[in-house]
């Protein structure tokens, strides 16, 4: 049976892992490949690098850390943040990433999804959807871009379906309302999307503890669950999250204990 995946996300700025509420109050947290290797050893099923650096020389720095990570952590690596063309995607894959996640650029030009999927296969194309619950009478969720700063008026569920039709092999669904709050995943959002698409859905935004991971899978229908700060700050280990999932009957991959 296919295991439910637990995925640490590393926010990377100018070649370093940073922590803090996404995009503000960044604190240097270490060398990405080193952290990646630690997570792989501790049982991470995959890794996600989200490049949030603003420097113009970001691309070279990012490719360098992807390459160094691929040499040390032999588990799948997804890279997101700022990929706008098939050429940029090719460079990231050549550096050793397995998948690229497209977000703002895919909203701006949805044909990018199809072009990337045709060239590299759907399995390499993750479409990241940042969704915000609509307030007032309008039900549902709206897609937001540019790190949550810009609204699009796109309906998140409709965009998810469209992204899959265009060739997305996976969806990374982040609740912007919950992200960084520790209020738990938006399971209604996850369920609304996972019930409408056949591709795997990765839950993101709001994890505080192991029970949230269980809820994302059981209530949200997520195939994988992503979190950043609770792992970086060592509030919870990957093993303790997986143990909680297993105790609730969810299939997870166990990693042999590493001698201390």
């Amino acid at each position: 049976m296919l295991r439910r995946r637990v995925i640490p996300c590393l926010d990377v700025a100018d070649g370093r892992v940073v922590k803090g509420t996404r995009f503000v109050d960044l604190v240097d947290e270490g060398d990405p490949p080193e952290l990646a290797e630690r997570y792989a050893r501790e049982g991470a099923d995959e890794l996600v690098f989200l490049d949030i650096s603003a420097a113009p020389e970001r691309r070279g720095t990012l490719l360098d850390i992807v390459e160094r990570t691929a040499r040390r952590a032999f588990i799948p690596l997804t890279v997101g943040g700022g990929v706008r063309s098939t050429e940029e995607m090719r460079d990231v894959l050549r550096a050793g990433a397995d998948k690229v996640s497209l977000n703002t650029a895919a909203v701006a030009d949805p044909t990018l999804i199809g072009r990337c999927a045709t060239r590299f296969g759907s399995q390499a194309v993750v479409v990241a959807i940042d969704a915000r619950r609509r307030s007032g009478a309008a039900a549902g969720w709206e897609v937001v871009v540019k790190g949550g700063r810009e609204a699009t008026e796109l309906d998140a569920v409709a965009w998810a379906e469209r992204a899959v039709e265009l060739g997305a092999g996976e969806l990374l669904v982040t609740s912007i309302d919950r992200d960084g709050t520790g209020a738990g995943f938006d399971t209604a959002l996850l369920r609304a999307i996972s019930s409408r698409v056949s591709v795997p859905v990765i839950a993101s935004g709001g994890a505080a503890g192991p029970a949230d991971f269980v809820a994302a899978v059981r209530d949200g229908g997520a195939d994988a669950v992503l979190a950043a700060s609770i792992f970086h700050r060592r509030i919870h280990s990957i093993a303790s999250v997986k143990a909680a999932m297993a105790a609730e009957g969810l299939p997870v991959r166990h990693v042999p204990e590493v001698a201390a």
Partner: protein
């Protein structure tokens, strides 16, 4: 200290179908010397051939033909030289693919078909690889170990090729996740992305290549 044995030379076929870096680095880390083969020339000096790849069969076959690699690969396998196909590299060994109707290498009787009754497609993630028999490729790896998959299609051997099946995995229905015929080996999962067990499998492959390079008739079928 004994001298380090010569690193087996493994040619990894690059036909533009996916992530070569990880397979290169994984093979290097388990003791192989890797050459990337964009045409048939590097095959002459190689002890083993690895065909990785993800994506659709049709474009992959076109690129193999364009690089004049399809026939040399068939000849390599016909000579029972050490070979490992990974993911699409396994699927291409069958006669054809239902994905786009492509005619593939035709080394194994059967076709590549879409996974039946799969709860999610693509099948992405860690799943159990259950052996149908023992094989040195899996030495030191528990039966039913979790390995990493990324695919929507899988090879379906004809009845006469059933003996080639080495392992199965279930996603909806069971599908063939590893084959072995003589020195021809193929896996549907990605050992280069399957953590410690994946590296163990690649190390086993390199070990088989090393043994095979020393005694050309040495590897059990």
């Amino acid at each position: 200290m004994s001298e380090e044995p010569r690193r087996p030379r493994i040619a990894v076929v690059d036909y533009g179908a996916g992530n070569l870096v990880s397979i290169e680095q994984a093979l290097t880390s388990v003791g192989a010397s890797v050459t990337v083969a964009r045409d048939a020339r590097p095959l002459a000096a190689a002890d083993a051939l690895v065909v990785p790849g993800v994506g659709a069969a049709g474009p992959a076959m076109e690129r193999l033909e364009r690089g004049s690699l399809a026939e040399p690969i068939r000849e390599w396998i016909a000579a029972d030289r050490p070979f490992l196909g990974i993911c699409l590299g396994l699927q291409l060994l069958f006669e054809g693919s239902d994905e786009d109707g492509a005619t593939t290498l035709g080394v194994l009787p059967g076709r590549t078909s879409r996974l039946v009754d799969a709860p999610t497609l693509p099948h992405i993630g860690w799943n159990q690889v259950v052996r149908t028999r023992e094989h040195p490729l899996f030495d030191g790896i528990a039966d039913g170990a979790d390995l990493y998959f990324v695919h929507s299609y899988a090879g379906v051997p004809q009845a006469e090729a059933e003996a080639a099946v080495l392992a199965r995995t279930e996603h909806g229905h069971p599908f063939v996740s590893a084959v072995a015929v003589g020195r021809l080996l193929g896996v549907q999962f990605h050992p280069e992305r399957s953590g410690t067990d994946g590296l163990r499998l690649l190390a086993n492959f390199v070990g088989l290549v090393r043994a095979g390079a020393a005694t050309p008739a040495g590897v059990a079928a």
